[in-house]
């Protein structure tokens, strides 16, 4: 007789019920615009594409949070850096064929961003590792706006252009299928998300470093006692999060025209996705990301496109109200989280 697991199921069902109600609302609004299944399918597909990006960014949040307990507000900055560095490298003159040049630019951008992530951890998080979580949050906010400001300085305020992965030109190939339009870049995005998910899962389950990081997440002191250095784990988690964030920025760049402030909105939505998934697992992050992308796009489609950002936050508030631990998370009690003393 487990009372709390009953409550848990109840709460989960209530949360799902919210989405069903929203779904009904959406269908109603859509009918006023004479939406048919085709429009919904198009909106859903486009939404899932955005959702895959959120999933990638959310994975970065989850990794850092799990290992260090910190909510890394600077995650969005890594997204920006990944995209912008790729643009810079790509615009360098090179004798190589375009495809190879793009690939090398991408790899270089990921490496540079990872180094920056590591630098951020060493310079700002590590010295403050004994501070309260409030202090650490403010520090990551400071890091984010510093990087954003430096991006403005380095790349200016205008949006840049980025070639599609498929055509290596500015315009992307589109596929039409049963009346739905899909950009070729979408497949790159979904593919990358799956690839990253698989790699991360493999890393955390089958490699020594990954397992060490998980150990650190579960019990920091215990991990130290067996020789794992929490400092190094923290470093590694920031590095990985930076890489994953950069990948997210790069793979969406052909679609959204990267600029210095793309990280703010994307980072925020990535965080909402992480919360919806539960901040505890990378599959949860993916689930949250896809769900968020899908819902916000459909909702914006049946109302006004400019309100898309608002829906993301409405979903955040709803999640915090009805299922704060997210889809796959576990509710913690006060006495478990009140650890800083």
């Amino acid at each position: 007789m487990n009372r709390s697991s009953h409550q848990n199921t109840y709460q989960f069902l209530r949360y799902i019920l919210i989405f069903l109600i929203l779904g009904v609302l959406v269908v109603y609004l859509g009918s006023r615009k004479n939406f048919g299944p085709l429009q919904y399918a198009q909106l859903s597909l486009d939404g899932l594409r955005g959702g895959a990006i959120y999933a990638l960014i959310a994975m970065g949040f989850v990794i850092v949070f799990n290992v260090t307990g910190i909510i890394n507000f600077a995650q969005g900055a890594f997204v920006t850096l990944g995209a912008m560095f790729t643009v810079t490298f790509y615009n360098l003159n090179s004798p190589l064929p375009k495809g190879l040049h793009l690939l090398l630019s991408v790899i270089a951008a990921i490496l540079v961003t990872t180094c920056i992530g590591v630098l951020v951890e060493r310079l700002t998080i590590h010295p403050a590792r004994k501070s309260s979580s409030l202090t650490l949050i403010i520090i990551t906010v400071g890091v984010f706006i510093t990087i954003q400001g430096l991006s403005l300085l380095a790349w200016g305020a205008e949006a840049h252009v980025f070639p599609s992965f498929t055509t290596l030109e500015m315009s992307d190939r589109v596929y039409r299928w049963l009346g739905i339009v899909i950009k070729a870049q979408s497949f790159w995005i979904w593919g990358t998300m799956l690839l990253v998910l698989v790699c991360i899962a493999y890393f955390f389950n089958f490699t020594l470093l990954g397992r060490a990081m998980r150990a650190c997440a579960v019990n920091r002191l215990g991990a130290r006692l067996v020789g794992i250095s929490p400092g190094r784990m923290s470093l590694a988690s920031f590095g990985i999060a930076a890489a994953v964030g950069a990948i997210g920025g790069i793979v969406v760049a052909p679609i959204v025209r990267p600029s210095y402030d793309m990280g703010l909105s994307l980072g925020l939505k990535g965080f909402v996705a992480a919360i919806m998934g539960g901040l505890v697992s990378t599959p949860g992050a993916v689930l949250g990301g896809l769900l968020l992308g899908f819902l916000e796009n459909v909702a914006a489609g049946v109302t006004k496109a400019g309100l898309k950002d608002i829906f993301a936050f409405i979903l955040l508030i709803l999640t915090l109200l009805f299922r704060p631990q997210g889809l796959l998370g576990v509710r913690k009690t006060a006495i478990e989280t009140d650890g800083a003393h």
Binding site: I71, T124, P127, A128, S131, S132, S133, L134, T135, L136, I137, I138, I139, V141, G142, V143, F144, I145, T146, I147, Q148, G149, L150, L152, L153, G156, A157, L264, L268, F271, V272, I275, G306, D309, I310, A312, F313, L316, I317, L320, L321, P324, K332, T333, A334, I335, T337, D338, H341
Partner: protein, 377 residues
């Protein structure tokens, strides 16, 4: 983060009086300008009476933010939007409510209508904070940070977009809403700026007194207890969630009041100061002044505003180009440095370091020949 403890109310009262006198004196100097001296000359054009009024207005916001961040231990990353709520409430209800809501002209032109509007704005902000805060602050962890960030951006979008209602605009694009009347009491207009200076500072000093009184009370102790150990506070009967929500609502009310005062000062309200960057500026000011220090509030505001002014006017040559968002780099670095090295704020941190340095000097003077056995602080 250490909280000022053992605050003696007498010390606070004296400090408050001193501050009031100094402010009054400065105001008198500026107004009367004995021997032709005024602020702008004294500080090479950086600090003007205009700046001082802004310091006063933002101090009111900061007192609320300090209570929330330094005492209840919650981060608000959207406070500028709450500040903007007050400003927009004042603008909309003073300027456009005739067309929108059919408020009769005699009310609109009366002297007491703007004051009533200010109170309406405060009530609205408080209610919003309560509604949003109640579910979120029941949770463990720092969800309020994200929720306020999201809320702040949402409200800013609402300010910025051209919202229509039966053919009339409510909020109005980037240009904002012009034509906000000056505040009056009866026939006494609180203008020119020298009068507004005193008005704004009376409000600011009132907010500071409010903050100090709250801290040294049962409520303040409950908040500090929550900050130190939520679990222990609960075990002593403190309804933690309820206190957090209440202080969040209080901080929203203060921000809204400040926003209304700002609106009457500027007479035109545009969305720009209420964006995410605006909220960040507030957090930086709080950090500089000390997250748990009510006294630090005006100090933090003053420092940041002065630095902004210097950056803008003197160092323009370095940052050519975009509109002044470059200052965020500076904010970011400053924020990080302060939180790492002086999380209690520059005032408290500097005092602490000075005392340590003094103590070390004394120790060295007392025993100059003995080797320092690695006593490092």
């Amino acid at each position: 983060m250490s909280v000022e403890s053992g605050l003696n109310s007498k010390r606070n009262a004296i400090g408050w009086l001193v501050m009031a006198v100094v402010i009054a004196l400065l105001g008198w100097v500026e107004t009367v300008q004995p021997m032709g001296v005024d602020f702008a000359d004294l500080t090479n054009g950086i600090v003007t009476m205009d700046t001082m009024v802004r310091v006063a207005i933002l101090t009111i916001v900061l007192v609320g933010l300090n209570l929330l961040m330094g005492y209840a231990g919650q981060v608000s990353l959207g406070h500028a939007a709450l500040y903007g709520l007050g400003a927009y409430a004042t603008s909309i209800l003073c300027v456009r409510s005739g067309d929108l809501l059919g408020v009769p002209a005699w009310v609109l032109s009366s002297w007491w209508w703007p004051w009533l509007v200010m109170i309406i704005g405060m009530a609205f902000a408080g209610a919003l904070a309560y509604l949003v805060g109640r579910p979120i602050l029941r949770l463990q962890g720092h969800y309020l940070a994200m929720a306020t960030l999201g809320l702040g951006i949402m409200i800013y979008i609402l300010f910025r977009e051209n919202l229509g209602f039966q053919g009339q605009h409510i909020t109005g694009t980037f240009d904002g809403i012009p034509g906000i009347p000056r505040l009056r009491v009866g026939n006494f207009e609180i203008w020119p700026i020298s009068r507004y200076y005193f008005f704004a500072w009376i409000a600011a000093l009132g907010a500071i007194a409010f903050g100090l009184n709250v801290i040294n009370s049962r409520t303040g102790r409950a908040l500090r207890a929550i900050h130190d150990s939520e679990v222990a506070a609960q075990a002593m009967g403190v309804d933690v969630a309820s206190y957090k929500v209440r202080i969040f609502a209080v901080s929203a009310i203060l921000a809204s009041a400040a926003g209304s005062i700002y609106a009457h000062f500027q007479t035109t309200v545009s969305p720009a100061p209420f964006s995410f960057v605006g909220s960040l500026e507030l957090v930086v000011m709080a950090a500089v002044g000390g997250l748990s220090s009510i006294w630090g509030a005006p100090f933090g505001v003053a420092v940041i505003l002065i630095i902004k002014e210097i950056l803008r006017s003197r160092l323009r040559v370095v940052f050519s180009g975009a509109s002044g968002e470059h200052e965020v780099i500076f904010y970011g670095i400053l924020l990080v440095l302060i939180m790492i090295f002086m999380p209690e704020g520059v005032t408290v941190g500097a005092v602490r370091r000075w005392r340590l340095w003094q103590r070390r000097k004394r120790e060295q003077a007392l025993s100059p020949a003995q080797p320092q056995a690695g006593v490092r602080t």
